[in-house]
């Protein structure tokens, strides 16, 4: 038990640092959370349009925003105020935007629940079906061979 707690502590310590970054990487990280607004539908730092009217200016704004704001959210807010929420590369975790993030996981959880129910039902209710009575020699032959093939 003591060893287990030690392992958990080490993992907790290690993963508490996940996501932390140096200031040198901050530009890259924030630049990948913003979209170029020239209409190319590309991440700001990946926009490669020749003579793009937006990306160069936005990169400068990002640099100056980073100098003025210690928090990443503060920098992103500047962009949202200027360009609207469409400038963010992903929905935020506020208001209705949260639905975007929650729904896939909720659906997965729902699916997991459904599969569990189905499995429990299959395991406890014997099935009597018409299909089970199909008298098809070819099918039976095939099943027989498959059972032989796959039996451990």
């Amino acid at each position: 038990m003591k060893r287990l707690l030690q392992i958990i502590f080490i993992f907790a310590l290690a993963f508490s640092a996940v996501g932390s970054d140096s200031s040198a990487a901050r530009f890259e990280k924030l630049g990948h959370r913003l979209m170029c607004t020239c209409g190319c539908n590309q991440i700001l730092l990946e926009c490669n349009h020749v003579g793009c009217p937006s990306s160069d200016g936005m990169r400068h704004e990002l640099s100056s925003g980073m100098a003025q704001n210690s928090s990443d959210d503060g920098v992103l807010d500047i962009f949202v105020q200027k360009y609207g929420p469409i400038v963010l590369a992903a929905p935020t975790m506020n208001g209705f935007d949260r639905v975007a993030w929650i729904t896939p996981y909720a659906t997965f959880a729902l699916g997991l629940g459904l599969v569990t129910i189905i499995v429990r039902k299959w395991r406890h209710v014997p099935l009597e079906t018409k299909a089970g009575k199909i008298d098809d020699p070819e099918l039976e032959e095939r099943r027989k061979r498959i059972r032989q093939d796959t039996e451990l």
Binding site: D21, Q42, P91, D97, T107, L152
Partner: protein
């Protein structure tokens, strides 16, 4: 020529309607309408000839620079190289619909010619395919006519092909993708036909599975060719941008993959019939939905067709297909009841169930993210962007879970597996995966620093886990054959694969999947640098140093170009010279990037000519160092090989290698596997 093309399209429409109506009547009337059924089949075959004639007219018109046709004027020009003139067939809305109809009629032709496989089932499938064909021909004839003439005088030259499409892969990628999309109509037709006729037995599922594998293979090739094209042409350094149109191709691929797994439960245990039928229905619906998404202008995308009026047509078509599927499901659902129950949670069946759940969860997440901007607009009054950060955050954990299942699944037996057996089979693969994680951490991967690093390490470790578990399957099976026949190891593995091509072909596909997953994992360590380079200026990225030797300009009738000539050194040793280029196409006045790529098994050096300084004419070079990208393309090749192996019929028992003289049951005992002997000249190797 245009008149002949228009006539061919009208004729095809009439023929497809006849194939549908007469075929439907014949099925309703039963055996006494055999001759009517035959006329329907022949009308279906004739539809192919008519659509092929229309497509041929379009191609000849492009080759002849017939700019009196609006479509040719919009998508071609005199200077366009001939291979790209063929690509003009699918580069625009109208032509691509003709191409779609052509592929569908070609698939239907194969189905109708091979109708003796199962005459009645094929007749049902043929009628359903005729109905789908009729819809597309209706659309082509009345909403997106490819032979419309230009108004006013005929222009001397056309607007040219979209510059992004002027790349060799563009001659292959769309046909592959379309073959995948359109191909899903065939398993759909067989599945719906089998449900309507209450097909006795399960031969239909075998037919459906094979057709799904063919369509899935094309779709896989199409998706990855598209990724390779994006990587090589778009010049942003990546291969997948989660663009709505990319997502549209992924949706049927995910459900098709789910079907190819769950169908085994139906074939082997008579389970999951409803699930499988609906998976095929949904796969086809998603193929049509993808087409709708590309063409309706519903979502903005870098490579969607221009907004057009055909969106409502697809909405209606989707509605009709769904209503038809639902109607026949409700009517005949008793025909789809399971014949067996799940006996244990630790079994191959349950691993397939979870596999399906994960694939569908991924499919839903992609669909949800693609449509969320529109949902947000409806609810909040403004659109939001759902870009790569969302899709990566949601799908990477799902993908990792799927990799884990890919490792566990093959180690579980059908019906039930004891924990002892799982532990015994899983110990070595798990130890190797753990060792990999330790080696990567010691090697400097630092998973605690970035989520990307953590995901990357998990992906590589799980890939090792999958590799080890599949390899152990090959090893165990080949050992049995080797002991019985005395064949060499490579011959035993070949023999094993040929005896159960579907299973071992599937494992080869899984090898391919892990290879490209390792390639994806490399993205966590991408590096980028951008710099203006004058004569003999240097820039560095990773171990590479680039020295600008020259920059030059060129001109030809199709485009003008600017190019940098860069010597490339790796750790001080000269590797060669690279030529990143930018072109300016004259016909449509658009610039295009020609990426210079130096690809090795470890990394890609990817150079983009990003522009030039207007003051001193110095080129601006953007350099990307992308680790492991070549693994992605290698993985796809392995996946294709695996799928082709799975499509090959099993080696007949009488052609299996002769048995080495040995005491009966000896091999079974020494391997712990059951070895049945339905024929004295061969051995059957079990799971």
């Amino acid at each position: 020529m245009a008149d002949f093309g228009s006539f061919a399209l009208i004729l095809a429409l009439v023929l497809s309607f006849y194939a549908f109506a007469a075929g439907g009547l014949a099925l309703y009337a039963g055996p006494r309408a055999d001759r009517l059924a035959e006329t329907s089949r022949r009308a279906g075959i004739a539809t192919f000839i008519a659509v092929a004639a229309a497509a041929a007219v379009l191609v000849v018109s492009v080759l002849n620079n017939d700019f009196s046709l609006a479509y040719i004027r919009e998508h071609s020009n005199i200077a366009l190289p001939i291979p790209y003139k063929f690509a003009a067939l699918w580069s625009g809305q109208e032509g691509s619909l003709v191409f779609w109809a052509l592929l569908l009629s070609a698939y239907a032709l194969v189905v109708r010619v091979k109708h003796r496989v199962d005459v009645k089932l094929t007749a049902y499938a043929s009628v359903i395919l005729a109905a789908v064909q009729f819809f597309f021909l209706l659309l082509i004839n009345f909403a997106a006519h490819p032979f419309s003439l230009v108004s006013g005088p005929v222009p001397p030259d056309g607007n040219g092909l979209n510059v992004l499409l002027q790349y060799p892969e563009m001659v292959i990628h769309p046909p592959m993708l379309y073959l995948g999309y359109v191909g899903m109509a065939v398993p759909f037709a067989f599945a719906l036909g089998a449900l309507i006729m209450r097909y006795p037995g399960e031969k239909w599922i075998t037919v459906t599975r094979k057709w799904t594998m063919v369509a899935w293979l094309f779709l896989t090739c199409g998706i990855f060719l598209g990724a390779h094209w994006a990587y090589s042409v778009l010049g942003w350094g990546g291969y997948w941008g989660w663009d709505p149109v990319e997502n549209a191709s992924l949706l049927p691929w995910l459900t098709g993959t789910a079907f190819l797994h769950s169908v085994m439960m139906q074939e082997k245990r008579g389970m999951m019939k409803v699930w499988n039928v609906w998976l095929i229905f949904i796969t086809f619906l998603l193929s049509i939905f993808g087409t709708f998404l590309t063409r309706s202008g519903l979502v903005s995308s870098v490579h969607a067709f221009a907004q057009s009026t055909i969106g409502p047509w697809f909405m209606w078509f989707l509605g009709i297909i769904f209503a038809t599927c639902l109607f026949f499901y409700i009517k005949n659902r008793d025909h789809l009841k399971s014949e067996n129950k799940l006996e244990s949670l630790v079994s191959r069946e349950s691993s397939f169930l979870f596999n399906n759940l994960v694939l569908l969860a991924s499919c839903f997440a992609v669909l949800w993210g693609t449509l969320f901007p529109k949902i947000s607009e409806a609810v909040q009054g403004h659109q939001v962007t759902v870009g790569p950060p969302f899709f990566n955050n949601v799908n990477i954990p799902i993908g990792l879970f799927l990799l884990l299942l890919t490792a566990i699944g093959p180690l579980l037996a059908w019906r039930s597996t004891s924990f002892e057996s799982v532990k015994r089979n899983f110990a070595i693969p798990a130890a190797l995966a753990l060792l990999t994680a330790i080696v990567l951490t010691v090697g400097g991967m630092k998973p605690w620093r970035e989520w990307a690093n953590l995901y990357s390490m998990m992906a590589i470790s799980l890939a090792v886990l999958v590799f080890a578990s599949i390899t152990s399957e090959f090893y165990r099976g080949a050992r049995v054959i080797r002991n019985h026949t005395g064949l060499s190891w490579p011959a035993s593995v070949t023999q094993l694969t040929r005896r159960n091509t579907r299973r071992y072909g599937g494992y080869i596909v899984h090898y391919g999947v892990i290879v490209f997953c390792i390639g994806f994992a490399g993205a966590a360590f991408n590096q980028t640098n951008e710099q203006e380079l004058g004569f003999h200026d240097k820039m560095t990225i990773g171990p590479y140093t680039l020295v600008c030797q020259n920059y030059t300009q060129d001109d030809n009738p199709n485009y003008g170009s600017e190019m940098a000539v860069l010597d490339v050194y790796k750790n001080g040793k000269k590797m060669g010279t690279m030529y990143p280029e930018q072109r300016f196409y004259k016909a449509n006045q658009q610039p295009a990037t020609m990426v210079a790529l130096h690809s090795t098994i470890a990394e890609d050096l990817y150079l983009v000519y990003a522009g030039r300084n207007q003051d001193n004419d110095h080129p601006i070079i953007k350099a990307h160092l992308n680790p492991l990208v070549s693994w992605i393309w290698a993985g796809v090749i392995v996946t294709v090989i695996g799928t082709l192996v799975a499509l090959v019929p099993n080696l007949p028992p009488e052609r299996a290698a002769p048995r080495k003289i040995a005491p009966a049951g000896h091999a079974a005992e020494e391997n712990g596997n059951s070895v049945s002997q339905p024929h004295p000249a061969h051995v059957e190797v079990g799971d």
